[in-house]
Structures are given as structure tokens and as C-alpha cells.
């Protein structure tokens, strides 16, 4: 039961059968764009990067991205940089062990950037999804392709709600090559 998210939509990260989710994965996938070169078709390299910023109240405390693959506390792990989008399925993944997120971390904001600078109009088959890692069930999916003339997106935030976690779809377009460029855009959604 996957939900195609609409901007602003919020979903609770409780399992349908009750019980809390333990590990969620944010997967990001895209395909290398094919364009015609002088000698036939060539693939243009596109490097999208998934990042997540950990906030305590409204302060950024840690960030997990291609240069810092594991949060210091070990609760958030990036599976590594994919710089071409080669391969099907998720090209980059960020795993969040919700049970191990430090107590003061109240929100996690997921972002996508086009490091090579192409806009999402030029990227083929780009999506981002949130998966319950223990069951493999897709909880939510966003389509990025055809998204317009921007190079980044503040995807979603996962935040504490009572004793559990909720996810809010943000889907805010932005511009920038790395998560640092997005901080002002993120701040608006905390």
C-alpha cells in the first residue's frame, strides 16, 4: 500500500498492523540521461545526491550525506554515493534506525540535490521513496521527473510525534548543488 505523496501530506509511521516502524529507508533513483552526441547516443552523467539533516528543535546537529556517510550516533547511514544513476532501483539510500535516533533529535529532513547541476526536467525516471526496511514495504513515493526548472528539492521530514514518528511530505523545490545551499529552504519547514 504505497502512497503517492502530495505536497504537505502527512502520514504516521505506524505499521498498519500496529507497532512502530524501526528502520526506514529513503531511496533515491534516477536514470542517466541519454542524449545524442556527434557519434550517436551518449549518456550524460547525472549525479543526484540524497542527504538528511538532523535537527534538535530547530538547530541542525548532524548531517548525513556523501561525505559523511554515518551520523556520529550511528542511527543514520547513507549507503554511499552513486554518481551516475547507473542501475535500476534505488541508486542511493539512507537508512534511519528510528529507535536509535538520539533523544534530542526531533526532526530529520531529507533532501535531494543535483550535484552536476541538471534540473529535474532533464533527469529521467527520478523518484524518491520511503520504505519500511524490515518488510520492504513502500510507504510513500514521490516522482521528481518533470518537476520543473530547479536543481534541488526538500523532500520530506520525519519528526517525533508523541512516542512515535510521523512523516510529512514537503516537496519544496529549491536550487543548490549540496544540502548547504538548501538550509534556508529547509528552515522554512521546521
Amino acid at each position: 500500500m504505497s502512497v503517492s505523496l502530495v505536497k504537505g501530506q502527512r502520514i504516521s509511521l505506524e505499521k498498519s498492523g500496529g507497532g512502530e516502524l524501526s528502520v526506514v529507508r529513503m531511496g533515491l533513483g534516477w536514470d542517466a540521461v541519454k542524449r545524442r552526441g556527434l557519434f550517436g547516443r551518449r549518456e550524460q552523467e547525472i549525479d543526484l545526491d540524497a542527504s538528511v539533516v538532523l535537527f534538535a528543535d530547530n538547530q541542525p546537529v548532524d548531517v548525513v550525506f556523501f561525505q559523511h556517510l554515518t551520523s556520529d550516533d550511528g542511527s543514520v547511514r547513507h549507503t554511499g554515493d552513486n554518481r551516475t544513476g547507473a542501475g535500476s532501483g534505488d541508486d542511493e539510500s539512507i537508512l534511519v534506525d528510528l529507535q536509535r535516533v538520539p533523544v534530542h533529535i526531533s526532526q530529520l529532513v531529507f533532501t535531494v540535490n543535483s550535484f552536476t547541476g541538471q534540473t529535474f526536467q532533464e533527469v529521467e525516471n527520478a523518484f524518491c521513496r520511503l520504505v519500511d526496511e524490515s518488510s520492504g514495504e513502500e510507504l510513500a513515493r514521490y516522482t521528481l521527473t518533470g518537476g520543473g526548472n530547479y536543481t534541488a528539492q526538500v523532500m520530506a521530514k520525519v519528526y517525533r510525534h508523541g512516542d512515535g514518528w510521523k512523516m510529512a511530505a514537503i516537496g519544496e523545490p529549491a536550487s543548490g548543488r549540496t544540502f548547504q545551499d538548501l538550509m534556508p529552504a529547509i528552515a522554512a519547514h521546521l
Binding site: 498492523g17 507497532g19 512502530e20 524501526s22 528502520v23 534538535a56 528543535d57 538547530q59 546537529v61 548532524d62 554515518t70 556520529d72 550516533d73 550511528g74 542511527s75 529507535q99 536509535r100 538520539p102 533523544v103 534530542h104 524490515s134 518488510s135
Partner: protein, 587 residues
Amino acid sequence: MAVELVRGQNLPLPGTRLRVAVRAAEPVVVAAVLADAAGRARGTDRVAHPGAPALPGVAVPAGAAARHEVAVDLEALPPGTERLAVVLVLPGGRFGAAEAPYASVEDAEGGTVAGFALSGLGEETAVVAVELYRRQGVWKVRAVGQGYAGGFGELLADHGLARAPQVLRAVADAGRAVAAPAAGATGEHGAVGGAAEAPAAGAPATGFPATGSPAAGPDPGRPTEERLYRQVWGMFEDLARAVAAYRSAVDFAESRMERELERVLDDPAARIGTAAAAAREAARTRCAELVERARAVLDRDVLQLAEEADEVEPALPAALARWDSPAWSAFRAPAEAPRALRLGDLTVPEAPGLRIPMLVALPLERGLWVDSGRGEEGAGDFAPEEADALALAVAVALVVRLTAAHPAGGPALEVVDPAGTAMPALAPLLAAGVLREPPAPGAAGVSETLERLVRRVDLVQMAVRGGAVDALPPGLDPAGLLLLVHDFPHGFDDRSITRLRYLADEGPAAGVHLLMVADREEAAGHGPLLDPLWRSLLRLTPVPEAYLADPWVGHAWTFHPLLPESGSTVLDRAARASAEARRASGR
């Protein structure tokens, strides 16, 4: 990908529909005990056994067999079930008399998630093989292997069921059905291939295997050194990260409190009076509350790691074990070279009681330096001679550990000690034969030894580069060499210093390993010339001192050297056994 578990290790489960497969050398009865978080079963109706094989969410086979499958649906278990223990009962005999049973957990598709060999059992006739348990909403499997010499009754009593005559009778009946001569149907309750594992005809009715029966291959789940090495590193990382989470939460709580207190101060209207006092109080309470929650999480993690450490420590082979471990008290020279060496223990201030073994891979990539100096802290209370004696004791323990942990006596020991001041400490090594002769005295001795070792390193390097390792002279000991340097830089002229630096840089790749006992201050006269030497060595302190950083977060860890208890003869015995092993190998 299946994970081989060691006793005490746990692993999150990939789903809630699972099978626990059991393989034993002879027919066993399988039961499942459903318990609450404290491990207590509500009543005998919470035990799945041959007399009542199916409970909500779990079904066990109705008879005894050498192979079993227990089907589990964790979501269907009765409410209040937090732990499910899969139990093996041997109808006659004891587990220690046959090959270790093996339990594996399979997911719904039949893929193996984890396996666990229940090794080390003796007189026990009932054992908890694995436990599926829920921790903070996540189901995990834990390798338990807890045996009960008093049998299934004692096991049930341990789960809060002191009186369960019907359960015991049903299990005994199921067991008898097998021990009786008409045991032909043994396999029918087992799963795939069950019949193939039925005991050989003519096995005694007691269930003991015939004494002459062939041993059944290597124990598949025996914790290998490699796995233990990785597990210890995993514990190290887990503690580093758990402490990082705690420190980060505390830092945040405190900085938030300071901001809130400043805000109260900045507001002239609120600066005095009860409103301000209340605001200050609220800020402090918020801080304390967050710190308390962070501490609770840390305590939970530390407790879990401490449990893991208690399970891992006794399983460690000599090279990785504490001196009070059975691996040393009943030391026998090993048949294979060790994967790694334990240099000491590491602790963080938040969990001073949890000691993480500090392991380095072998062969050593850099030399070791036991610091006899009176550094910033720690050794500061000692007179220089005391610090030197303590550092030498630590070094001697390292020498014994390194040589004894290798087969055939390990690397040969060479000593540079121009004034002979290390001889009292080295006497046991000399007596045992680990050190074959006293070091050559004076500056001439230093020069001669270093020159010989430099020549050796050059020779090995040339042979390796030329692809002619076979052409090395026969006198060259392939097990490598450990050079203990004491009293540096006394007796060292410029050439000797240059040679020592060369050995520190080039030695490890050529099998020459340096162990220095030195006070850096003593060599201060040589100026920055020696800085690269000290930097190239791994510094160890003879007393606990916080100076090591972990590779993940960079906390400062306190290093604790490993020394046997005073009066212990473990070093002498290990040194003699090691020297004996070398003589026996003809080296």
C-alpha cells in the same frame, strides 16, 4: 545472507513469519516457551510441546527427531508474549556426548537468516537454543545456548513454571517413543530430510551415540577468531556511537538551557521576581529531563553491550583473551597464527565498567611503544624507576602474549638493553627460553644487534622485490622477529639511531617488529629528529590514560594495559609452553 551467531549475539529479524530449524546428532524433543519481557511464562498453556504442539503463532513437531522445524508467526503470538524460547530436550543422555546441535532461523522464503551452533554443552539434557524476543518493538533473535543439567523441569522452573507435571510427562513420552526399538518413524515429524538423520540402528536405548561413531565434520557454528574479532570491533563502534548520541544530547540540552537562561536575563522586566525564577527553573528542568532520557538510552545500550561482552570474553582465544581467561590458565600452544592481538582495554568515562578489548590486526603494521615517561597524567605519580619497571612489566606481558599466541613459539625475541637494566624483568623470559641469550651489553651490543636486523630487513626486501623469497638463507626465521628496545637512547650513537628509525619504518613489512620501552623526554636532546620515530609507533601507557581516539567519532578513550594479577604464574607458564612449542618444532 546468513549470519553465524555466537552465544549472546542478537540480530534483528527480517519479518514476522519464520521457521527455526534444529539439527542434532540424535533425536531431540523440541518445545517453545512463550514468556513475558522478564522471561516468565504465564502458565503451562504457554508452552508448546509434543503434548500440545500448536499455540497461537507457534507450532512444534509432535515427536522426537534429529531434525525439526518450528514454525513461528510472531504477530499471531498470544498478547503479552515478549520472548519465545526454542528449547531442545534430549530424551536420554546428555548434550556433551555428541556433536553440538545446530539451530538456524529461516525467513518465509526459506532463506537462512542466522545460524547458531550450541557448542560447549556438557551434562545438560535440556537447552534453550535461541530466543526470539521483542526489544522496543523490534523482533530479534538471540543465540542463547543456556543448558540445564537438571533437565527440562529445571528449565521450566527457570521460566516461572516450577510445577508442570503434564508438560514433563508429554515430553518424556515423546522422547521414549524414540528411544524404544521401534524408532523407525523418527524422521516423520522432522522436516525436509528428517529421516536421513535418524540415528544408526543399534544405537543404545539410552540415546548415547555409539562411542565409535565417526565424528561429524567440523562444527559449522564454532565462533571463528575472525568473527570474534569483528564482533569486538562492532562492540567498540556501538559503544562509541552510543556515547556520541548521549554526549550530543547532553551538549544540546545544556546549550539550550544557557540560551533560555540568557533570554530571562536579557528581559529587564522579567529579570527579577517570581516569573524569572520560574522561567529559570523551567529551563533547568527541561535540561535535566532531556539529559535523563539520554542517560536512560545510554544505560540501556551499555547494559546490552555489557551482556554481549560477558558472552564474548570467555569465547576469546588466548591472543585476544584477558590474562584471567581459561584460554591462558589452561594455555596450549595454538596450531594457527592469530588474526589479531589484544593490546589492552578501552573505556569511556560514561561507562567505566565496560571494557572493550583493544585489538590490532596481525602481523603488526607498526611498532609498539610502552611509554615509561611521566606524561601529562597517569604515570605522574611514579618515580622514574617505578614507571620504567611498570612499563617493562607491560612490555614483557606483551612479548609473552605475542609469542605464545603464535604456533611454534612465534617470532624470535631480540633485546637491546645496553646497561642490562631490563634483565630483572626479562629473567622469566630467559629462564623459559623465549629469550635465548642475554642481550649483548653496551653500545657495541646495540650497534651489532641493529646492524644485523637492518641487514635482515634489506635481505628480505631484496628477495621480495626480486621475487626470490625462496632464495633467502635457511637461517632466516620465517616467523619474524620481535625487537625489544629498552633504555633508549642510552648506548645509541647516530648510526644506531638511524638504523632504529629504519627498522621502525621498514621492519614491519619484512617481519621485524619493534617494541620500545622508552621515555620520550630522555631522548629530547636529539630534538625533532626523532619525532617521526615516535609518531610511527603505537603508544601504550603502563597505567590507565585517556589518549586514544576511536576511528568513528574520535572520542578520547582510556587505555588500560593488561597485566596478570600479582602472584599469578600465568606468564611463566605461557612462556614455558611457548618456548617448548618452538623447541618441538625444531626452530
